[in-house]
């Protein structure tokens, strides 16, 4: 019941933020200098051609009308069309979003496991070598540029040792995977083609490894610090003094209290991952959302940019909501 109230209240708070985000995206792209119409029309266009193009794309209407039209379109699943390829944005989104999600979700899952086990282990050995290794590792991970790390992995594991596939995209050439879910590894598994499935997994190896390593660092630090804090806290020491079994102590007292702060941090990291995936997709020629947005940004394809920014911001806000709910579930002290 408490959680139901909490969730509904959070959802109510979410609406103004999402409206704000959609207005900000819309206004940002129109206020910033650089007229998209001048990029659509050929260089020889006359003033009349420019005015016609503006009218054709509805850019001559008042901003408020354009905005309402845009929002109405989104509710119908219509994000408009790219001005450089003429493809519907919704089609591109449906095709590319799963490729990016595969990277981001896998990296986050692996990093969470590494950070939780590593952080708790380090906290149990404070001041000894597993702890030092963890702290140095976290410091290095926090300082590594993910795009460069990806290139180093390509250099060593593909170019040098030959155990990784070339950085040429999602799957090896010559595989024809029927799209069902859009997640290539799942589709390859469904198609009953083991070679395609293995190739899909193999191509995930380097980009996921790169992203996961970089984001493990801050979470590892956080888990270690809060585990130490919990263990030195009154409630844990009291429980320990009462002679509770180690298993109870660690499950009921240590792990739960330690992980209270992790959902919020993981949500922030998820936002970083969305940004970082643009760089990683660039490194590995991964045809996900990031590459699509980057092309849109370089060509000032404003409907593409608008959709990309709106989708990533919405995903980020929703993940934050999820983190808040998780935290409220873990911590009864969180006010409803």
């Amino acid at each position: 019941m408490r959680l139901v109230v909490f969730v509904s209240r959070r959802l109510a708070l979410l609406a103004p933020v999402l409206i704000g985000v959609s207005i900000a995206t819309f206004v940002l792209i129109r206020v910033l200098p650089g007229d998209p119409v001048l990029l659509i029309v050929p260089e020889t266009a006359t003033a009349q051609d420019i005015a016609d193009t503006r009218e054709r794309y509805g850019l001559d209407r008042p901003l408020v009308v354009q905005y309402l039209d845009y929002v109405a379109g989104i509710f119908r699943g219509d994000f408009g069309s790219s001005i450089t390829t003429n493809r519907p944005i919704a089609t591109d989104l449906a095709q590319r979003l799963p490729l990016t999600l595969e990277l981001v979700v896998l990296a986050l899952a692996i990093a969470l496991v590494l950070a939780i086990t590593g952080g708790l282990y380090a906290a149990r050995h404070v001041g000894r070598w597993p702890d030092h290794v963890t702290r140095i590792g976290a410091l290095i991970g926090n300082s590594l540029p993910e795009f460069w790390l990806g290139l180093v992995f390509i250099l060593v594991l593909f170019q040098g040792l030959g155990i990784a596939p070339p950085p040429t995209g999602r799957i090896g050439t010559g595989f024809d995977v029927v799209r069902v879910t859009g997640f290539i590894s799942i589709d390859a598994a469904l198609s009953g083609n083991p070679a395609a499935f293995l190739s899909a997994l193999h191509h995930l190896m380097l980009p996921v490894m790169t992203l996961a390593l970089v984001i493990t660092a801050p979470m590892l630090r956080s888990v270690r610090a809060s585990a130490i804090e919990t263990r030195d806290g009154d409630s844990f020491r009291c429980a320990e003094a009462h002679g509770l079994a180690d298993r109870v102590l660690s499950r009921a007292y240590l792990v739960r209290q330690t992980l209270i702060r992790l959902p919020t941090l993981a949500a922030i990291i998820f936002g970083n991952l969305l940004g970082g995936s643009v760089l990683i997709e660039f490194v590995f020629s991964w045809q996900g959302l990031g590459q699509w947005a980057l092309r849109g940004l370089l060509l000032r394809d404003y409907p593409v940019i608008q959709a990309f920014v709106l989708v990533t911001a919405t995903a980020y806000v929703l993940v934050f909501l999820l983190a808040d709910i998780l935290q409220a579930a873990l911590d009864p002290r969180v006010k409803v």
Binding site: S143, P145, F147, W148, Q159
Partner: protein, 280 residues
């Protein structure tokens, strides 16, 4: 005086190893930036028409890139742009964030409410994606990059400052200052600001590290600094094509420089957090 008190008073100032290590790294990088022209025989954008993609050797210490430019000289000169932009952007972020947080935290009311809701919206965007979008439209000159990276990093400072000011506002010394007839400006800048600044100054070095990574990332995808200007991210980007083929020097050297510099900022940041007791 008891023995315990004596030991407390005579305790030497503890030197923080992380802080020192970070400061030494940053000092070296800063020296490299300042004396880059003296430390390298080749100007950073001069093309050696006799050697393209030449491996490291006596003629070119770190080799040459695919344009025939000296990698060693470019790595050194890049420190100027990377350090300069990052430090300037963080200075801007701290200034803007602090001012906004100080003012809305002190006066409160609808200005405060409006600002906080605005920050909610700005912070709903993943930072790097916001940076990509702003820079793609505003252009990629150095002042624009400083402005974009600076403003994008400002909201956390505004929040931190506001929180500090709101708790300090209740203290008796503020009330005393008000009763003594100090103006609002004087209370904000002479009484509140100095007392609220510590957490912000502790975060700033860490933020410099992120700012460099952000600049390098923007340049890496072609939206920040572009070749022939020497910048680490742009150099890594240009060198990425050489990797398949085993020509490692065009990416490894600038990447290592970038990594070491960010590490320096992180060490200083971590050291400061330990000293001020904000992290163990």
């Amino acid at each position: 005086m008891t023995a315990l008190e004596a030991s407390r008073h005579s305790r030497p100032v503890r030197i923080n190893a992380l802080l020192v290590a970070g400061a030494v790294i940053l000092a070296l990088v800063a020296l490299a930036a300042v004396f880059a022209p003296l430390l390298s025989a080749w100007p950073p954008t001069r093309i050696d028409h006799l050697s393209f993609l030449e491996p490291p050797g006596p003629g070119h210490l770190f080799g040459t890139d695919s344009n025939g430019m000296d990698v060693y000289s470019r790595v050194l000169h890049a420190a100027r742009i990377d350090l300069g932009v990052a430090v300037a952007a963080v200075a801007l972020a701290v200034t803007v964030g602090t001012l906004v947080g100080l003012i809305v935290g002190y006066i409160g009311g609808w200005a405060d409410e409006l600002t906080m809701r605005g920050l909610d919206v700005v912070q709903a965007f993943p930072v790097f994606i916001l940076a990509l979008t702003v820079v793609a439209f505003l252009g990629n000159s150095i002042p624009t990059l400083v402005l974009a990276i600076g403003l994008i990093n400002a909201p956390p400072y505004a929040r931190m400052m506001r929180a500090e000011v709101r708790s300090l506002r209740e203290h008796i010394f503020v009330e005393a200052a008000e009763c003594a007839g100090n103006s609002r400006t004087s209370i904000m800048f002479r009484h509140l600001l100095p007392n609220a600044l510590t957490p912000i100054l502790v975060i700033a070095p860490l933020n410099c590290g992120w700012a460099i990574l952000m600049l390098a990332g923007l340049s890496f995808v072609g939206l920040g600094v572009t070749v022939p200007q020497a910048e680490w991210g742009a150099m890594i980007s240009a060198g990425a094509a050489d990797i398949v083929g085993g020509r490692w020097w065009t990416t490894i050297f600038p990447g290592t420089a970038l990594f070491i510099t960010v590490l320096g900022f992180n060490l200083v940041g971590e050291g400061l957090q330990q000293i001020t007791g904000r992290r163990r």
